[in-house]
């Protein structure tokens, strides 16, 4: 490597900070090294995206061409894979999409509301037992879900909730995922406490402080929670697998798996078409909420 590698670039630290990169190692690399770096990261990125792009292109290829053509541009276009896939399971695919959407909406609303209420109490209110209860909350953060799985299943089956959405939805309304409470507590603690004091002097009660002052300021934390919850709910395979047996109630992941069980060797196109349909909401939410998501992930790792 040339000497220029180790030289400090002539910009000041403040300038570099405003440009968003505080890590100056290699800041003064030659154009050739920089070009090579772009080639490497673009190459790896293409390699990583290839399977997904290949799946997209396969949905437009006839079945006998899917595995023989490695190229992404179909030589022969076939557009019926989507309509075939849509109708090749027991129910039209729209039913599974609606089921998953209903569950995801309930899960998101339940998680955001119940976690926000608990987080507000832990972050901004003073009450006897706060420290012990907070420690308990953190304790549940570390508990692997499989230890609770079997007794919870037994309870839900005794309640007659098997084959309904209740086991999948009710826990979300009870703030059972401590991770989201913790995330919101961290966020609420950073808000100036004088806001509460001022509101109290103006005659606000605790509930109004929460609804009118704290909650509106916590929208970024709520958004992060909502995106994560949506994605987990949409992707969840395990809970629907154990709680749902009726195919009317199946969610998208359970429906997709049926392609593997029931279909012969000849319908990859429809299967991939529905796989793409199932991934679209996640990709959509990811693109829409990328900013919040990255912040959410970064803070998880750093605080």
């Amino acid at each position: 490597m040339a000497v220029s590698d180790t030289l400090v670039p002539k910009r000041t630290a403040a300038e570099r900070r405003t440009s968003g990169f505080s890590y100056v190692e290699g800041g003064g690399t030659s154009p050739r090294t920089r070009f090579l770096r772009y080639v490497v990261i673009t190459g790896i990125a293409l390699f990583m995206m290839y399977p997904l792009l290949w799946m997209v292109s396969s949905t437009f290829k006839p079945d006998n061409k899917i595995f023989t053509q490695l190229g992404l541009w179909p030589q022969e276009w076939k557009f019926s894979n989507f309509s075939e896939g849509w109708n090749s399971l027991e129910h039209p695919f729209s039913l599974y999409l609606i089921n998953s959407t209903i569950l995801a909406v309930f899960d998101v609303v339940g998680t955001v509301v119940s976690s926000a209420l608990a987080a507000f109490a832990f972050a901004r209110l003073n009450f006897p037992g706060r420290k012990i209860l907070f420690a308990m909350m953190l304790g549940t953060l570390m508990l692997p879900s499989h230890v609770l799985l079997i007794p919870q299943y037994i309870v839900f089956s005794k309640l007659g909730w098997l084959n309904t959405y209740l086991p999948l939805v009710v826990p979300h309304f009870l703030a059972t995922n401590a991770f989201y409470i913790f995330l919101m507590v961290q966020f609420m603690r950073a808000l100036p406490r004088e806001l509460d004091d001022a509101a109290r002097i103006d005659g606000c009660g605790t509930f109004r402080i929460f609804f009118r002052i704290i909650a509106p300021l916590c929208v970024p934390a709520f958004a992060t929670t909502a995106i994560f919850t949506f994605m987990n709910s949409w992707n969840d395979f395990f809970s629907p697998l154990i709680y749902l047996t009726d195919s009317d109630l199946y969610t998208v992941p359970l429906a997709l798996r049926q392609f593997m069980d029931s279909e012969g060797q000849s319908s990859w196109g429809p299967m991939f078409a529905m796989s793409i349909v199932s991934l679209l909401p996640i990709v959509g939410f990811f693109i829409a909420g990328q900013k919040y998501l990255m912040q959410g992930i970064a803070t998880t790792g750093l605080k």
């Binding site: 400090v8 009660g205 750093l302």
Partner: protein, 316 residues
Amino acid sequence: MTDSAHAETADAPAARASAAVPGRRRRRHLIDWSAYVFLVPWFVGMLFTVIPFGASLVLAFTDYDLLNPPKFIGMQNFTEILHDERVHKSLVVTFIYCLVSVPTSLAAALGVALMLNRGLRGLPIYRAIYYLPSLLGSSVAVVMLWRQVFSTQGIVNTALAWFGIQGPSWTSDPHTALSVLILLHIWTFGAPMVIFLAALRQVPTMYYEAAAVDGASRWRQFRSITLPMISPIIFFNLVLATIGAMQSFTQSFVMSNGTGGPADSTLFYNLYLYIQGFSRFHMGYASALAWVLLLIIAALTAINFLAQRYWVFYEN
């Protein structure tokens, strides 16, 4: 919304003034009983957590099939686990999966994060491309895709055939089936990468400037500045990834149609727990398996925490 905006602008100067006055106590010491109202959903939720937690320990010492009342059988489940060859096999599979995929994916995450972190145009696009697979990696659609990519006539073998190589039937050969799942895991290195990227930005620039003045090479800067400064984040990612990998389920379930085959070569521990609990309804045995997993994960985490003394660097 208007309320809060008003409160903020009106009181910001006052707030600063009050913070500056020493010895002035805030009013937060007043006990607010309404806190318990806010916690009502969480309290109910805790019942759904604490009671099952105790119950699963009790169940671990019973024989229970959901239909007949649980029968207390002492340590029998645990002695059976000691002699159950499928438990041993699943532990081996899960450990290999963990030992190979966790370090590899973390190394890939750090490597790519380092490359992305250097004054690069289009960072959000690259970051999104690298992160996307980890969002999709646990979805059934992608596992099915993976299964087809590595099937006997899949594109991997089609590509190998160009070079005259006859590829194995990856997913149906016990020697290669697990490696397909490991590759899938490594493919999802984007999640720890995003955390590494955030951590790299926290390293103060002045350290690199000082090192550069002293003539330190780039490798030396990486080893003596970057690695120690981000070691707490490496540790955090390591603990999370280990716990996550030990609990994998969907990948092996979808890849093997719920059997863990071929020849139990992809029988993850959790898949075996599922088979015992939910296809054979051995609820007591499955609870015992869950507790063994809890102890293993606790032990691994403890080992990680003990080992961090030797390599994790905390500034204060």
